[in-house]
């Protein structure tokens, strides 16, 4: 019997991503059909490209205070988005700001996702006292809203990039743990898990080869939702002065600093604010398209 190349590729892809190929195809379908998905994809792409290539693309040094203060945005001028109270180029600053947003968004969610998914898998698969202990621990984490963790961290260790990632990501451990556990519990009801046990697979193989791939769709959706929320959290922390570092250009910090000049030069605040809004909106649209494609119930968040 002959297997065509495309069959092999399909199977391998399914194995690599742990996603059924028709999920990918379904998503591509959704992308083609759904305006929401297209808009989301464009925004996310622009944002990621701007963040990655900020050093190459920015016209000016984001820290240089030499371009004249409070220049309003002029699309044709030298500073299309204007300058701030120190005479720094806002366009260059927001592009660098995108890097922080992206790094914190991804970093925090990867951090929370790694531990959360692990806890969820073990907790859901083994049940019993392991479940009890892990979920009670998650309950305690959850009783600390991320902002309180951030406040404590900054109070103790001062401001810093990793502190932000840790504070924001820590809060997502419980989101991921709960959603993964819920999925595992329902997958565990499926007879193919018993069948795998019956075939003679080890717990490790059953958890990571049989269970995890079947929980991955809602986890991916959760991932995008939380990247969006992590970026909002980062901007809130920066706005409050608890973020990365006061001098680093981040959207939240720029917005906070510009607040003083709201009547005089509203664009200093409004531009980064709108950028936060558009980017987070784009990621949310993208996540929503994923959700539609994978047909994940939002109730899974509960």
């Amino acid at each position: 019997m002959s297997t065509s190349l495309s069959d092999i590729v399909k199977t391998d892809r399914a194995r690599i991503f742990g996603i059924r190929t028709d999920l990918i195809e379904q998503f591509v379908d959704t992308l083609q059909q759904d305006l929401k998905a297209k808009v989301g994809l464009v925004i996310v792409s622009v944002f990621i490209l701007a963040a990655i290539f900020a050093p190459e693309l920015t016209p000016y040094d984001p820290m240089a205070q030499e371009y004249g203060v409070f220049q309003p945005p002029t699309l044709s001028g030298a500073h299309p988005l204007g300058t701030d109270s120190y005479g720094r180029d806002i366009l260059s600053r927001v592009m660098y700001g995108a890097r922080i947003s992206l790094a914190v968004g991804l970093g925090a969610v990867l951090f929370g996702g790694f531990f959360g998914v692990l806890i969820g898998l073990l907790s859901g698969y083994y049940g019993g006292w392991i479940d009890d202990v892990l979920m009670r621990a998650v309950d305690v984490m959850w009783a600390f809203p991320w902002l309180l963790i951030a406040i404590m961290l900054v109070a103790i260790f001062g401001q810093g990039f990793w502190n932000v990632i840790f504070a924001v990501g820590f809060a997502y451990i419980d989101d991921f743990a709960r959603i993964t556990r819920g999925e595992v519990l329902s997958v565990r009801e499926e007879e193919y898990i018993l069948a795998a046990e019956n075939v003679g697979l080890s717990d490790f193989e059953i958890i990571f080869e049989e269970t995890f791939p079947n929980t991955v769709a809602p986890i991916i959706v959760q991932f995008t939702v939380l990247v969006a929320r992590a970026m909002l959290a980062e901007s809130t922390l920066s706005f409050l002065g608890l973020g990365v570092k006061p001098t680093t250009p981040t959207w939240g910090a720029m917005l906070g600093q510009g607040r003083t000049f709201l009547t005089q030069a509203p664009w200093i605040s409004i531009i980064p604010g709108i950028l936060i809004m558009i980017t987070v909106l784009g990621i949310n649209l993208f996540g929503d398209a994923l959700r539609d494609a994978f047909d994940v119930k939002e109730g899974d968040e509960a």
Binding site: A14, R20, D22, L194, A195, E197, G200
Partner: protein, 376 residues
């Protein structure tokens, strides 16, 4: 009092059974919360509560009962998918009650399970090739090209095509999926297959295909089956011996012909009567079993069936749990105890037909006069 003759026919208790289980128990904790355990509020569901069962070489034992009677749990416990709470399970001459690790893995090569829901029992993210190839891989039976060929061979053996190997489960019909499940079980060339309601989820016309397939494979490979079902007529067709389960207990077991021609337990008889038939003249079924089985969380005292028993005889039934006692079969119609059941000996291990009911100790006349099934 007659002693059963030694006859060479299916339905005899095997002298040297492949699988022998004694006093098997499986309890589930119903509340596992931290706070509940601290306060000692644990409650147990006695899903399987002291079951003896033996399955011989190339024999098919049917296990029947209503939903929630514990038949699936028993099947899973015997295959060691569940850890038994009590009792012993022997496979061949080996005690497999507490084995784990590599010993358990090698048991998996001998005992395989076919599941009820053919969609749920196949991982939706895996191709047929991966599903059937996995047991070959795990037990080092074949790899590479050999594995590919073996998978395709197995597919053809169960009536599918080799070209089906790279499809995903959702691309098949229910009957085809169940064939994949059978191929997976067959891959390790097991001695015993525990089939947990393998046809309940299938359409009538497909049920017959699967039953015939299972019978053919039994002949070819010399398999033994524990065939679990709620449908007595399916069991009649495939089993050599039948065990009837109610609320975690086996209440009657014996050769298929004895169970169907001369059922002795009131539950078995009521169950047989409530089977709808496609033959005879139109007529309503008698309702012999009122209500539902009680909850296994809070099982009734004494005989588990006494709350619904049409032949309830009083305190005795509530006070004491009847044990399986041997009866000698005499020809008779379904239902009426023409062949009077007689308590033979205390030794039930070799008995063909055993029943757990207090009536067995009563006079046959007495029993007949109380029997709602005799038609008076």
């Amino acid at each position: 009092m007659t002693v059963s003759e030694e006859v060479e026919e299916p339905g005899r208790i095997p002298d040297d059974p492949l699988l022998r289980a004694e006093g098997v128990e499986k309890y589930f904790e119903s509340n596992t919360g931290l706070i509940d355990s601290v306060f000692g509020n644990e409650e147990y569901v006695k899903a399987v509560d002291g079951v003896d069962i033996a399955i011989g070489q190339e024999e098919t034992v049917g296990l029947v009962g209503e939903s929630g009677c514990g038949k699936s749990t028993l099947g899973r416990t015997l295959s060691r998918l569940y850890e038994p709470t009590g009792g012993t399970i022997n496979f061949g001459d080996k005690d497999v009650t507490d084995i784990s690790g590599s010993e358990l893995r090698s048991l998996r090569k001998e005992v395989q399970v076919i599941f009820q829901d053919p969609l749920s029992s196949l991982n939706p993210r895996k191709t047929t090739r991966e599903i059937i190839g996995k047991p070959l891989e795990v037990h080092d039976l074949a790899s590479g090209q050999e594995k590919r060929e073996r998978v395709e061979e197995l597919l053809e053996e169960v009536g599918l095509r080799a070209s089906h190997a790279d499809r995903y489960p959702h691309e098949f019909s229910g009957g085809q999926r169940q064939r994949i499940g059978i191929a997976r079980a067959l891959a390790v060339e097991p001695e015993l297959i525990i089939a947990d309601e393998p046809v309940s989820a299938l359409d009538v016309s497909v049920q017959a295909q699967i039953i015939n397939l299972m019978k053919r494979l039994q002949d070819e490979y010399g398999l033994s089956y524990l065939f679990i079902a709620h449908d007595l007529s399916v069991v009649k067709h495939i089993a050599d011996r039948v065990a009837v389960m109610y609320l975690g207990h086996i209440v009657e077991k014996g050769p298929t012909s004895a169970i169907f021609k001369n059922p002795q337990h009131p539950y078995t008889r009521a169950l047989l009567r409530s089977i709808p038939s496609v033959e005879g003249t139109k007529g309503k079924r008698e309702v012999l079993l009122e209500g539902n089985p009680p909850s296994p969380l809070n099982p009734p005292s004494g005989c588990p069936f006494h709350t619904r028993c049409p032949e309830y005889m009083g305190e005795e039934c509530e006070a004491e749990t009847p044990t399986l006692k041997s009866v000698v079969d005499a020809p008779g119609e379904i239902g009426p105890p023409d062949g009077t059941p007689i308590d033979v000996t205390g030794d039930t291990s070799k008995a063909e037909h055993t029943v757990a009911c207090h009536w067995l100790e009563e006079d046959a006349e007495e029993r007949r006069s109380n029997d709602p099934l005799t038609g008076d």
